[in-house]
């Protein structure tokens, strides 16, 4: 089971801060694709963090990981 965190416009689009994903193992890239399809989101340009570190699409996810979809940041 993977916990997926959503922020900013993504959170508003699905009306929730968190998604639970049970289909593991899966790569970051696959997850990005499947979540985009299932929730009708544009996730191509978002960054992904796995356990609070930026990760690329090749990273394999495992049970217990926390994934965050991170839209381009706009702090400061």
């Amino acid at each position: 089971m993977i916990k997926i965190l959503l922020f900013a416009h993504l959170q508003e689009a699905i009306g929730s801060r968190e998604i639970i994903w049970t289909d593991v193992p899966i790569s970051v890239g696959e997850l990005r694709k499947k979540v985009a399809e299932k929730y009708n989101l544009l996730l191509q340009s978002v960054m992904v963090a796995v356990n609070e570190e930026y990760a690329d699409d090749q990273v394999e996810l495992k049970d217990g990981d926390t994934v965050a979809f991170i839209p381009p940041v706009s702090g400061g």
Binding site: L5, F7, A8, D56, A68, P72, V73, S74
Partner: protein, 158 residues
């Protein structure tokens, strides 16, 4: 006040509190960068802003920026506080304080810190206007991160 050097808060930021964290006998200069809420962006009038953060990761990334600064300017001491929640026009959103023995490094390192915040720290702002609202960033899919990570040239201009 015993706040850590790298801090996210929902409360108003005290410039003096952040600055005090880096003052020490070796320092001959403190450079303070203050980011505040601007009313007009591209001719559009903002009523107020809302900042959201992935707080635990944002703190880690601020600490990482502190580590990068330490490598480039080993004599620097840095403190950064970023505010989240609802901010009104002219409210302080971020304060960066850098102390160094000599002024050059303090100027350079504080500039470096704010540029890196805009690249890697997971904080987002939503602008509220009279006729609508929008999360700022690049949610229109006009930018793609091929590596899945922000690159140097992906620096969002403000």
């Amino acid at each position: 006040m015993n706040e850590p050097l790298f801090f996210i808060t929902k409360d108003p930021i005290s410039i003096e509190e952040v600055t005090k964290k880096v003052i020490r006998p070796e320092a001959g200069a403190v450079n303070t960068f203050i980011g505040i809420v601007r009313e007009l962006t591209n001719g559009k009038k903002t009523l107020y802003l809302e900042y959201e953060a992935y707080e635990t990761m944002a703190v880690k990334k601020l600490e990482e920026i502190g580590g990068e600064i330490q490598k480039r300017w080993p004599d620097a001491k840095v403190a950064i506080t970023h505010r989240i929640g609802r901010l009104e026009i002219s409210d302080i959103a971020v304060v960066i304080a850098v102390s160094t023995p000599h002024r050059d490094h303090a100027f350079e390192a504080s500039r470096y810190a704010i540029e890196r915040i805009k690249e890697i720290v997971p904080i987002w702002k939503k602008e509220h206007w009279e006729d609508g609202e929008q999360w700022i960033g690049n949610q229109l899919e006009t930018k793609v991160y091929p590596s899945g990570k922000p690159e140097k040239e992906d620096l969002v201009d403000d």
